[in-house]
């Protein structure tokens, strides 16, 4: 899982049936200082996240299908699984 900022949403009419009725968000991955990195993803939203939210993104297929209760044949990997209130990072070295 990684931390990300929701920067937008994506609309598609023609899509795989699994994505019918699911909300797709554009997320930008953050580093530990919460600065945006150059990595992004289009993720399924499972927590009613909104643009600007600081979120936790799950990025693995088997787990994603469990979270979304999508059987074992859904073509999905990235899911927003939480809206983060805060992180606490212990500086070492």
């Amino acid at each position: 899982m990684y931390l990300a900022r929701v920067v937008g949403n994506v609309v598609a009419t023609i899509k795989h049936p699994f994505y019918e009725g699911r909300k797709l968000m554009l997320v930008q991955r953050l580093d530990l200082d919460h600065k945006p990195t150059s990595t992004y993803d289009v993720a399924v939203d499972d927590v009613q996240a909104g643009v600007g939210d600081f979120v936790l993104v799950f990025d693995e297929g088997t787990g994603a299908r469990q979270i979304l209760q999508a059987g074992n044949t859904a073509p999905v990997r990235a899911v927003i699984v939480g809206i983060v209130d805060e992180t606490d990072i212990c500086e070492s070295s």
């Binding site: 937008g8 797709l24 554009l26 930008q28």
Partner: protein, 95 residues
């Protein structure tokens, strides 16, 4: 999933079992602002409706095969949707 532009097609007669009738497209990967980023690659079209010049989103790795009717196939990238619109108010403006 990542954004990509469909830039071409690929035809193959001899392919792994289970891939009969599957359409292969060549896509240019894009960054979050839909600007080209990285080298083109080949993806199967799970929407069956993607065409040249269209903005699509692609699911990668093992999950890609799950978008096809026959999912025990060696496929690591699949187009799963055609993008109508992206609203991204928090992305920095293009220079």
């Amino acid at each position: 999933m990542k954004f990509a532009w469909v830039i071409g097609t690929l035809v193959s007669t001899r392919k792994a079992e289970g891939l009969e009738g599957v359409k292969f497209l060549i896509v240019q990967p894009l960054d979050e602002r839909r600007l080209p980023s990285g080298e083109p690659y080949v993806a199967v079209d799970a929407t069956r409706q993607a065409g040249l010049g269209e903005l699509v989103f692609v699911v990668a790795s093992r999950e890609a095969a799950l978008s096809l009717d026959e999912s025990f196939v060696p496929v690591d990238a699949a187009i799963v949707g055609i993008v109508d619109d992206v609203h991204a108010p928090l992305l920095p403006e293009e220079e």
